[in-house]
């Protein structure tokens, strides 16, 4: 029984009622699922022609794997660059110089407030007009830049809160052995802060993977785009979307699990509180 303060421990009669409720709930769920399947079947969405393509290796080779690769490549670039961006501006917000702090704060708050999709559309058009990279890199660059700026700002907040939430004694100890503010930050607080935020950084990957799907609106070849191509070939839009949804969910659940394992592993290596989720982002 969970130790929730909200409820009393149930007695025998309540337990029996719960059991009945459980059975009832499962039946209700199955009935709902049945209705959906029947309706899909009535609309011809469950025919073999629409689903057999997913049993063929070529479908995975030609569509789904390149799509997943596109998603993961964009996510990998973005999370690495977001880490760099976050470190720079997170430290900027901890700086002793008022001007550096102010600039960092404005940058971080700006990119946190502007929707990723808006930024993506803007950067994409910017690249088309000013041609800063070869045309076949427009979409990827726009996706990576937009994801980097937003997630980098989230990481900057993680860095800042990772350092500020360390016990005060850590900074004081550093200063008392004669280190400067900057030295204390670099050699005592930051290493622990980064360890404390590492799991949150991994779970930020979930956000990046999900948001990379926005790239399909500017034509970036990722899973959702590939589902579109696949369904143009096999006329199976609904099945294709269901399959890529499953892929997304599996990938993200693996990433979440890794983040949790990492958090457990690192808890002994820092004096700061280890968080799994990025504060302020909450994986949205």
């Amino acid at each position: 029984m969970s130790a929730s303060p909200l409820f009393d421990a149930p007695g025998p009669r309540t337990r029996r009622n719960f059991a009945v409720a459980n059975v009832f709930a499962v039946l209700l769920l199955l009935a709902g699922l049945g209705v959906v399947l029947l309706q899909l079947d009535a609309n011809g969405q469950l025919t073999a022609a629409k689903w057999t393509p997913f049993l063929e290796a070529s479908t995975w080779q030609d569509y789904l794997w390149p799509g997943l690769k596109g998603t993961l490549v964009a996510a990998a670039y973005s999370v690495v660059l977001a880490g760099v961006f976050g470190l720079v501006f997170g430290l900027g917000r901890l700086s002793q110089h008022r001007a550096v702090r102010a600039v960092s704060t404005v940058v971080v708050e700006f990119f946190r407030a502007v929707p990723v999709l808006l930024m993506m559309v803007f950067v994409y058009q910017l690249l088309i007009v000013y041609r800063l990279v070869p045309p076949d890199q427009f979409a990827l660059t726009a996706v990576v830049v937009a994801l980097t700026l937003y997630n980098g700002s989230v990481v900057a907040e993680l860095v800042r809160s990772g350092v500020t939430s360390l016990p005060k004694g850590q900074g004081e100890a550093g200063l008392s052995v004669g280190l400067t503010y900057g030295q204390t930050l670099r050699s005592v607080q930051l290493p622990q802060g980064i360890v404390a935020m590492a799991p949150a950084l991994v779970s930020q990957l979930v956000v990046v993977v999900k948001d990379s799907a926005l790239g399909y609106l500017i034509g970036y070849v990722e899973l959702l785009r590939q589902a579109e191509y696949l369904s143009t070939n096999f006329s199976n839009y609904i099945p294709a979307v269901i399959v890529i949804a499953v892929i997304f969910i599996v990938v993200n659940m693996v990433l979440s699990t890794v983040a949790q394992l990492l958090a457990r592993l690192l808890r002994s290596r820092t004096t700061g509180p280890v968080r799994v989720e990025a504060e302020g982002a909450n994986q949205m």
Partner: protein, 272 residues
């Protein structure tokens, strides 16, 4: 502290652009010809696995052969509508066959050979539909098109003010809704619609109305400083005279589709 922060910012922003830029390959050397097509339009330019099919693709292959390229020297590259001019200007593609309408504003930045086909805006409806005969018969109907194209708005402004517009980012979503009956018609160029209607899953379920109400001259997009425009035009004329043009059209757009007969096959215009 301050300087290192600024350097790091500069580095990060350079890295953001640079990392993605270095993996690209420049096309357009003497050995190969890079041709821009659509990858997602059945009947015109469709990528299926690693093979390409469609009317645009067939014309592109014919023209490339006439220009002296072997089949294995042709490289197809996706050219989404907003990127077509940039792809040509930067030399990433040598030619574009991608439902590319010849317009004066585009001629300011790129050159055109052709036209090799004259399409017209039309409507795609369910096979058993009899009341939608043209753009004026859409009052109170639901019409689907893609975002960023003016075709749906044109129907509303010029023909049926009472039409309801649904916009998606791709045609396949429109087709999905049309097949399910939640919208009444899809509008864009007739040959694009015919390509969808000719797909196996839609055969006998969807039809093109066949009452085109605009004129879109599909041209071959070329860089402005090209030397092949005349040769491309000659190849197109030869394809039309040999009957290969007609065969390719029937093979890709389906037996039931007939293009605007007054305007097709077109005569390529003189190169600028």
């Amino acid at each position: 502290m301050r300087r290192s922060t600024l350097t790091a910012i500069a580095l990060a922003s350079v890295a953001a652009v640079g990392l993605t830029a270095c993996s690209s390959e420049e096309g357009g050397d003497d050995e190969k010809v890079t041709i821009g097509i659509k990858f997602d339009q059945p009947g015109l330019g469709l990528k299926s696995g690693d093979s390409y099919s469609g009317f645009d693709v067939d014309v592109a292959r014919y023209v490339a052969a006439e220009l002296g390229y072997e089949e294995d020297q042709i490289e197809f590259k996706e050219s989404p509508s907003p990127q077509r001019e940039t792809l040509l200007q930067s030399g990433q593609v040598d030619m574009i066959f991608a439902t590319y309408s010849i317009t004066d504003s585009r001629k300011e930045t790129v050159a055109f050979a052709g036209p090799y086909f004259v399409a017209g805006q039309d409507l795609l409806v369910a096979e058993d539909n009899t009341d939608i005969t043209g753009p004026e018969a859409l009052d109170g109907k639901k019409l689907c098109s893609v975002q960023g194209s003016t075709s749906a708005q044109r129907v509303k402004d010029e023909y049926s003010a009472g039409v309801q517009l649904q916009e998606f980012d791709t045609y396949s979503k429109c087709i999905e809704q049309l097949a399910a009956g939640t919208i009444d018609a899809v509008t864009t160029d007739d040959i694009i619609l015919a390509g969808f209607a000719a797909q196996e899953a839609n055969a006998g379920k969807l039809k093109v109305v066949g009452n085109p109400f605009s004129e879109e001259n599909y041209g071959v997009g070329l860089p402005q400083d090209n030397e092949i425009c005349e040769d491309v035009n000659a190849a197109i004329s030869k394809m039309i005279e040999s009957g290969e043009w007609e065969t390719a059209l029937a093979r890709n757009a389906g037996e039931t589709y007939t293009p605007n007969a007054d305007l097709n096959p077109p005569t390529p215009a003189a190169c600028a």
